[in-house]
């Protein structure tokens, strides 16, 4: 069978010594982690390896010998290296030797306990140790529940290198009995800024946790749970968004270290997302407050509200006449039209009453944009909802009236046919009515039927207006959702350090020479951007449409009130 040797490319120029690593017998492959240089005492090496095994739970052992001779082959050295095979008994004993600066190494194995040793083919695979150590292998998204023994061969290799971090802490320049060469030998890498940040993060987290506990204590106080206020909080999307961000802050400021890769990435994503959100919010705020744009905005708010009200009045006048050539019932038309006109008049008076305070209110509310762009967008959506409150009211009146009419019509239609709705049995039963019951019922049915077009038209117009407002609010919420759930840290990591997020590996065939083992270079194949977003998406309080299209149309037809967006905390009805 073919023997595969995974050799770290950083050890290519190391001095002669013995190879330590892990032997994976079921794949017939050897993962070499480091080279131990002469002089060493075999007992100390075995002791050291035992300690490493205990700490990392990786089966590290001596796998073979490595000889890097700058001049011609030294016979005594090769004899010595073969003798080492008897001290550190390992089956098979791998011998790799490199002459001068040649790229083509000779690799052979010594198998003592097989009676007839076959010439087995050896494949030499070079890998970049640092990248493989830092990288995280992502299994394909459609597999669910991989059992331990099914784990792919490559993940075993990645696992081995990642868990052997403690082996890489000492190297040949340290004082000690063991002198190793591995990726740190090129120069120990560490960043002062990262270390300082790590030290500073602990007290910062504690401070943040304290502040957040104060804040959540206030939020949970009884005063804010009184009925009118709690109803208001649940309807305003700004409060939802603030609650969501509070939750995120709690996740970041918790003192527990992240257990695994997913939790670490999630914390990092939340942190970067919050940072970018607040930065964009402050940018927006500085743009709004420069040149007093917010004053201009407040000044245009009242004329816009007036304009909307005027347009609505024109619309109602049109409906009260002969809209689109349809002939309405004059009396009902006038009643409904006057009722809605009076409503608009009331609304305009209230807006005008509020107009001196609008600028101040808007100025202070605009300050809260520094909490984040998402909060600013939610405030915008809430302002739209408040300004179009009269449209919402009209929709409710029109829908209720229409709904009443439809139910009345359906029950009188049953009376017309001599049937009745049995509430106990939830079905339609036949019923014998008296003559006067039938007479009055038929009269009422006729009246309702002929008044239907008028009511239906008012209902149609106001439903369309309401749907328009809902669509605008929906688009704003979609944008907020996008900003909330985008894993920015993962995307930046994929852009800058693409080896950290690996979908797999790729092999490149290097120059070959006859008689020498096959040389391959193993590189990391990074995850695609779509895969990154799918794996690391942050969960949101998603407002997805509650009804399917069919049930939405049915509700619209029957005149039932529609609440198109569902929030995660809503009870199912």
């Amino acid at each position: 069978m073919v023997l595969k040797v995974f050799f770290p490319s950083c050890c290519s120029s190391a001095d002669s010594g013995i190879l330590i690593g892990r032997w994976i017998s079921e794949q017939n492959s050897a993962v070499i982690l480091a080279v131990v240089h002469f002089p060493f005492i075999p007992v100390q090496v075995k002791q050291y390896l035992g300690e490493v095994q205990r700490v990392t739970k990786v089966n590290v052992s001596v796998l073979g010998s490595w000889s890097n001779s700058k001049q011609e082959k030294e016979e005594s050295l090769s004899e010595f290296l073969e003798d080492l095979g008897t001290i550190f008994c390992h089956e098979p004993w791998i011998q790799i030797s490199k002459e001068g600066d040649s790229k083509f190494w000779s690799c052979s194995t010594l198998q003592k306990h097989l009676k007839d040793p076959q010439e087995e083919e050896i494949i030499l695979v070079y890998y970049d140790q640092r990248k493989v150590m830092l990288s995280h292998l992502h299994p394909p998204l459609d597999t669910s529940g991989q059992r331990a023994e099914d784990a792919s061969k490559l993940s075993a290799i990645f696992d081995t290198v990642a868990r052997s971090q403690v082996l890489f802490m000492t190297d040949r320049y340290d004082e000690g009995p063991i002198k190793l060469t591995h990726w740190q030998s090129d120069g120990v890498e560490a960043s002062i800024i990262v270390e300082l940040l790590k030290q500073a993060s602990v007290p910062a987290c504690m401070l943040l946790t304290f502040l957040l506990s104060l804040l959540s204590g206030i939020c949970r106080s009884r005063v804010l749970k009184l009925w009118p206020l709690s109803f208001l909080w649940s309807k305003l999307s700004t409060c939802e968004q603030l609650g969501h961000r509070l939750q995120h802050l709690q996740v970041i400021s918790s003192n527990k270290k992240a257990q695994n890769q997913n939790q670490l990435m999630r914390k990092a994503n939340i942190f970067v997302s919050l940072l970018i959100d607040v930065a964009l919010g402050i940018l927006l705020m500085s743009w709004l407050y420069r040149k007093n744009r917010i004053g201009h905005l407040a000044d245009t708010l009242i004329p816009v509200a007036d304009h909307v009200a005027e347009e609505l009045q024109d619309l109602l006048q049109w409906l009260m006449g002969a809209p689109a050539g349809l002939k309405m019932n004059r009396a009902l038309d006038q009643v409904l039209g006057r009722f809605f006109l009076y409503h608009i008049h009331l609304w305009i008076s209230y807006i005008h009453l509020l107009s001196p305070f609008i600028e101040m209110i808007l100025w202070y509310v605009g300050l809260s944009a520094c909490l984040g762009l998402t909060v600013a967008l939610c405030i915008l959506s809430d302002i739209i909802a408040l300004l179009t409150f009269h449209i919402y009211c009209f929709y409710v009146y029109g829908a209720r009236l229409y709904c009443l009419k439809i139910y009345g019509l359906s029950s009188l239609w049953r009376l017309f046919r001599g049937k009745k709705w049995n509430v106990l049995r939830q079905r339609v039963d036949s019923c014998s009515y008296d003559l006067d019951q039938l007479f009055i019922g038929t009269l009422l049915f006729t009246i309702l039927l002929f008044l239907l077009p008028t009511t239906a038209l008012y209902y149609l117009v106001f439903t369309l207006l309401r749907l328009l407002v809902v669509i605008v609010q929906g688009l704003i919420h979609l944008l907020v959702d996008l900003i909330d759930s985008l894993p920015l840290y993962s995307l930046i990591l994929r852009l800058c350090r693409s080896y950290r997020l690996a979908a797999g590996v790729k092999f490149r065939v290097l120059e070959q020479q006859d008689g020498k083992p096959l040389r391959l270079l193993m590189q990391i194949n990074p995850l695609s951007y779509g895969g990154v977003i799918q794996t690391y998406r942050l969960p949101t309080y998603s407002c997805y449409p509650r009804d399917s299209w069919a049930s939405l149309c049915k509700k619209l037809f029957l005149g039932e009130l529609i609440y198109p967006w569902k929030h995660k905390g809503d009870k199912q009805n």
């Binding site: 073919v2 083919e121 494949i123 061969k153 790729k506 092999f507 065939v509």
Partner: protein, 188 residues
């Protein structure tokens, strides 16, 4: 050692198959499609610019011309980087796995590596596409739960679409290496 032979694709375009044997258990098979022709590129560019000039003559708006240049450039970049595949290659390493690479005209390479444990077999399948029957080479992946089952079919050489004679060459080469894993004794 490398050898190159000429074949035709399913639509009649000339393609070349290059076979390299790196070692006894490692072979690389690469199918190279026709390169981007200068005349088709110039024809497309001239058509777009003529249309833009015609619109400019009608509307007297110079934005049309700059928009046409912009669209041509962006369209060319997208075509070279995401659409035009120059070469598709198959690297079969016995006991490690099979690697499928597509190289685009802009130099981008997209690679997938399938481990040998997941590969059940490499077969030639036929498919009915519109009014033609075409042959394609595909890798059958093993279903982890069911040893007889196939969990996924990975089609190869989808953009160059070689004909049956080329596919038979590739098939024979792959099977020679896949045979080795059946004859090799399982290690404990």
């Amino acid at each position: 050692m490398a050898e190159e032979r000429r074949f035709r694709s399913a639509s009649g375009a000339p393609i070349a198959l290059r076979r390299r044997q790196h070692s006894a258990s490692c072979r690389e098979l690469a199918v190279r499609g026709p390169r981007l022709q200068l005349r088709s590129l110039s024809a497309a560019t001239s058509a777009v610019w003529l249309a833009a000039y015609g619109l400019f003559a009608l509307s007297e708006n110079s934005m049309v011309l700059s928009a046409a240049i912009f669209i041509t450039l962006i369209g060319l970049i997208i075509y070279l980087h995401f659409v035009k595949i120059d070469q598709e290659s198959l690297l079969v390493i016995g006991s490690l796995g099979i690697q499928v690479t597509s190289s685009y005209a802009s130099g981008k390479e997209s690679t997938t590596f399938i481990e040998m444990g997941q590969v059940k077999d490499v077969v030639i399948n036929e498919a009915i596409h519109m009014q033609k029957v075409i042959y394609y080479l595909c890798i059958l992946l093993q279903d982890p739960e069911d040893p007889q089952g196939v969990s996924e079919v990975v089609p190869l050489f989808q953009s160059s679409q070689p004909r049956l004679d080329c596919l038979i060459e590739v098939y024979k080469n792959c099977q020679e290496i896949l045979e080795q894993r059946k004859t090799a004794p399982q290690s404990s």
